[in-house]
Amino acid sequence: MPDDQRIVITGIGLTAPNGNDWATYRESLLAKKSGVQPYEIRYFGKTLAGVCDFEATRYQKKKEIRRGTRAGSVGVYAANEAIKHSGIDWENTDRSRVGIYVGVTEHGNVETENEIFIIKGFDYDTSCWSHHHNPRTVANNPAGEIALNMGITGPHYTIGAACAAGNAGIIQGAQMLRLHECDLAIAGGTSESIHTFGIFASFNSQNALATHDDPTQASRPFDKERNGIVVAEGGCLYTLERLSDAKARSANIIGELVGYAMNTDATDFVLPNPERQAQCVNAALQRAGLNAEDIDIVSTHATGTSSGDTQECKALREVFGNCKTVRINNTKSYIGHAMGAAGALELAGNLSSFQDGVVHPTINVDDLDPDCDLPGLVLNEPQETKQVDYVLNNSFGMLGINSVVIIGRV
């Protein structure tokens, strides 16, 4: 493939419940530091969540924060951090050739709930409904706020892809670069989901919301005692460039998107289909020209639900069951489920392995569920490797949307 069709990652900006930059996030993962804490939200009451504490005013005026959304703030922070990390000469970058592709699980629930709460105080008088509601809730909002903040005039939009959205944002960015629709893509995912009571209430009604006396142990994929999802906020955006452009400016290349795939279960609203998931993983491997044995780390999507984890494990057993060297981990065990940001954040946590050769473990696995007992699971303690060349990142979502990306060392 020619260099102008090869897509590389040259910068990472993120906020996670356990770190507000890539290096700190990695330190937290290797130190087994959780970002889950007690949390309370209107109507639902006390629960647990992955909460971010990034400094929003680093890149936004207070007025921007007031007028916009939390997803927008997360995105603005992550995008600015990614540009800074990339070393791109931003002042002299043609902003009309920059595209923004932000994956979201949902958007608008927070803002709509807020307005309904406010007009309840006025006996549901809709003349007290804010004129800011529409610009806050249009589906492109998080990407649009980034464009406004950074003066980017190329294409911007969000990719609604449930919890597969983080990977989907990356894939969309890569495709637009290959089409030469932009020269720089800011791509990944964001989530403001902890600010909507509805997501907690809905997971709770589905018996899929995690509880635990110790918040840091609540998110426990693959463990027998797992009892659901810990909802988290966060964001992770990458600067993606064509390899030819990255080489021309002597960029620090973090990794190359060597393969990706998306497909659809078409079988159930919520229950994942392991056959389709395996097909998606295999399609990504095929596109990358790799065999399962070539993958060093599989970053799982598993959310800590009873059936979701076992379904993904069935898929992974089919693809990687005979692989001797693959390592399999899960990052939600630290930060919870960051929804639209999950795929992008979980990938970022593993990309550091190209540099340090260490695989961070899935934490909180005190009693491994036999149905989740995959060969190569990295549990509770980091594992050192000789070298990591390929990371495969799973991200799946409701309505049966599946996404897989494979990043290779350059």
Partner: protein
């Protein structure tokens, strides 16, 4: 409310709408837009806050009265004279 109390109320609303601005040196006879970074959505915020806080209704054709602090207070005085400052 007295004109002075209305002025304080408008300052409080402006402080919410434009938290980055220094309102200490606001000139009452100079248009808001010449002193502050306000756009049409911000003026709608002033209208909305008056509606929410005091149930004062400002029809669209009267928005021009909100150009400066002096014109705003003058316009609101008869509408808010019976409102007791809490």
């Amino acid at each position: 409310m007295t004109p002075a109390e209305i002025r304080v109320e408008i300052l409080d609303i402006l402080d919410d709408i434009s938290p980055d601005e220094d309102l200490d040196n606001l000139k009452d006879d100079v248009a808001f837009r010449e002193q502050l970074e306000l756009d049409s959505m911000d003026f709608l915020d002033i209208v909305m806050e008056l509606r929410k806080r005091h149930r004062v209704q400002i029809p669209e054709e009267d928005y021009g009265h909100l150009a400066s602090m002096a014109s705003t207070v003058s316009y609101l005085e008869p509408k808010m004279v019976d409102i007791v400052k809490s």
